[in-house]
Symmetry: C2
Subunit: 240 residues, 2 copies
């Protein structure tokens, strides 16, 4: 690890464990004003699972299931968000046309250990990108069921930002394990949860994070949830 | 949950995930001066797995594998400790002679949800108690192997303090799941990791904790560890 790669003191912050979301706890009414006390960068969703969230430089963007992008203010509420104050330690470029496998292999090569967190922000152009959003839920059903009906959007020759995190596999009950990235186009017209891409010319900033702050909800829904079920399969299906 | 049972703002603090300890990372040289920034109450061990640690009112006690108790200062170092600032929300008494099953059933009845953390401090007398310590390790072997050779100590009609935590099952990679208690006798002559007891007359203080702070070690041992193995069986054997 080079000396510039010292972890910044800002922890990775989770306002809830992701397994609660996977089990269908879609409403916690945590205002983004609270989330922003813990970071200016990250991803998540909104209450009632109303779309994908990406936070860049403290700005909160919502990609709803119709594919549209909305800037939201701090009064918006969420059941799940993962944020940090973004201070990248390293920057690297991938200038050649790359398949999704080449792109993710390159990204993972920037992460020296699988046992800590990383915040990752990638700016660049994509010859192809496929993203999804999630439809707002009126009643509760498990995330894996919702994901079966998720709207998927494809774009070609698009410029934008991918923002997200790498989480060690052994913390899969708390946060989506491995790479988890949300996309926002440079023209703020489209975005979503990344499913696949082919990159043209990208630059990735990576922040090494070796601490976690996790809040556990105190709602009746959360406190009475039965977590005995192994959610790893569901999480995998819901996120990929 | 009654209104006195509001979670205190002090989080549960872990200086490392317990799975690193289970895999044999017994030396992280984290001084107790750092641990005490995060709590005055808790449990853990010492570098090279040199015995069991119990912290009461900011005092650090070590129970070595010869069964002796030593008070240690803040320069002592550890690979694993779990602490909080202890502010109990509730107090309850169990005044009748109770088997271990009755005792743990009573304790669990004081915890209204299995999905948050609790700090638990129990003062009282025991007609019987069985504890263990762990022997200092010169070389690295998995905790489950070390635990096979653990010295076990039994006491009758003994007064003392049990201190520890309840952790939700879905965080078993981070902290020992369920109830995890260390014992220190009132005369400071004996103690260890609780294996079994029969209680006579005990009073339990319980603190509700709904936030976690976790530090990830930046040692080469930790960063290069292969966590692919499922350690749940090992943890169960090593702790029971």
């Amino acid at each position: 690890m080079n000396k510039n790669a010292t972890p910044h003191k800002s922890p990775l912050y989770l306002c809830a464990p992701v397994n609660a979301l996977v089990e269908g706890v879609y409403e916690e009414r945590i205002p983004y004003s609270k989330i922003k006390e813990h970071g200016d960068f990250g991803l998540g969703t909104f209450d009632n699972l109303d779309g994908e969230m990406v936070m860049l430089d403290g700005n909160i963007f919502q990609i709803t299931s119709d594919g549209r992008v909305h800037q939201r203010d701090e009064t918006s509420e969420t059941p799940f968000a993962c944020v940090t104050f973004y201070h990248p330690a390293t920057h690297d470029e991938l200038k050649k046309k790359s398949s999704y496998e080449e792109f993710t292999t390159w990204l993972e090569s920037l992460l020296p250990s699988p046992n800590i967190f990383y915040a990752i922000r990638i700016e660049g152009t994509y010859s192809y990108i496929r993203v999804r959003s999630v439809p707002k839920q009126d009643s509760y059903k498990p995330l894996v069921e919702v994901a079966k009906e998720q709207p998927v959007f494809e774009f070609t020759n698009i410029k934008g930002t991918l923002a997200g995190f790498y989480t060690p596999a052994f913390m899969s009950s708390l946060n989506v394990p491995g790479l988890h990235l949300h996309f926002l186009s440079s023209d703020f017209q489209s975005g979503g949860h990344l499913l696949e891409c082919r990159s043209e010319n990208v630059r990735a900033g990576v922040q090494f994070i070796n601490s976690l702050e996790l809040s556990l909800p105190m709602s009746l829904d959360y406190l009475t949830l039965d977590f005995q079920r192994d959610i790893e399969d569901d999480l995998d299906k819901a996120e990929k």
